[in-house]
Point group: C2
Chain length 231, copies 2
Amino acid sequence: MQDNLQVKMDEFLPLRDVVFNTLRQAILTGELKPGERLMEIHLANRLGVSRTPIREAIRKLELEGLVTMIPRRGAEVAQITEKSLKDVLEVRRSLDALSVELACDRIGEEALEELRKACDAFEAATRTKDTKKIAQADVALHDIIVQATDNSRLVQLVNNLSEQMYRYRFEYIKDESSHEQLIEEHRIIFESIRRKDKETAANTAKLHIDNQEKSIMKQLRMEKNSRRHSL
Amino acid sequence: MQDNLQVKMDEFLPLRDVVFNTLRQAILTGELKPGERLMEIHLANRLGVSRTPIREAIRKLELEGLVTMIPRRGAEVAQITEKSLKDVLEVRRSLDALSVELACDRIGEEALEELRKACDAFEAATRTKDTKKIAQADVALHDIIVQATDNSRLVQLVNNLSEQMYRYRFEYIKDESSHEQLIEEHRIIFESIRRKDKETAANTAKLHIDNQEKSIMKQLRMEKNSRRHSL
DNA sequence: CTACTTTAAATTGTATATAATTAAATACAA
DNA sequence: TTGTATTTAATTATATACAATTTAAAGTAG
């Protein structure tokens, strides 16, 4: 773990939430690697706080499934197995389909217009070839859809499930050969939501996840391979 | 809140988990009522532990959505609104449908046999008119299905969502007039899983939730009414 | 040199102490 | 009485202290 964990005092959150966000981000970006132990005193010193907020943050990470607790041994970053990712994607596939279906019913004129812009913005982002920008544009687009469902529980769950594979999605987006297809799928989802064509919307959303799954699984296997050869 | 919160030392869990389970149960059964404050010293004294495990338990309840945090004022039991229940049920509807569809593909012979027995057990339970027994039989039956999906994330999410309405489901099950229909729906779900008829299974599962939703919403409105008249 | 004990260090789990903030109570003026 | 300061009490937020347990290390016998 590099020494670039830093507590941002920008906002006025309780320390436990600052720590929670910091650790969460570190796990999702891969800065803290699967299997790595989260030792309280270490983290407390590094972040310049006491153990209490660290522990409270770990409790939340535990419930989110990002860390695994081992009794009397503490927390470690959860291992991501092929199976666990498949499980996550299987649920997400269903919830993304639900999201676009609900969006068909409930999206407003303004949000629809935003969605159209987000499609354009995504296309523009792919042309910059800036992976971070592309990823952001993609998140923004999907966020408009899920927000349009007007179901806060669904929003919470979809966001949580998405985050579980941030690390991998990044690599996925790097692959330029898939950009055209992504643009096209976004376009179809937008059009079918506009026409309130639930079936096409849902099917495309599922396809969208299927493609992601294929790419992520390929990566995972490569990672596993390279681990086997290097260790 | 009555004075029957007790820490069970049966198992050998960290205190924070014991406290978490205790508070969770108290909230789900309605022993701790929506809006009620969770004061740390109070709970610590009552449960005979220090504030630390109480706080850690509250952090987990927070992430689960069972309590609401108010900065510098602590936690209170989350209010359940009609909207929030609708949101939960909307997601559950989708995930229950997914569960039975996956069960069609993945259930084994033994589990299928268990499911058949669970259907019979549920029918038998309704005849005892023991609400608690009926509820347990219902949970057991649905648990077999969701376990058959072999998707641990799905299991976790469905269980969590189900628990959110334990309080209300209890009243629902009390209503004997609905028992025949419940038995029939369980039977159809079992039969369609056996025949691997995903469409019927999914539709019936959705119907199952729809019926629950109607009943719960009726109750909620009654509750709201009686509150208005008594306050 | 290996297998087993014993000891020491590190780490978590729990409890308590201090600081900061908020809510309530009291006092006082209009 | 009502509205506003001021003080007091209660409560959370954070830090530290202590206890229990585990891991690693150092010896020691075979």
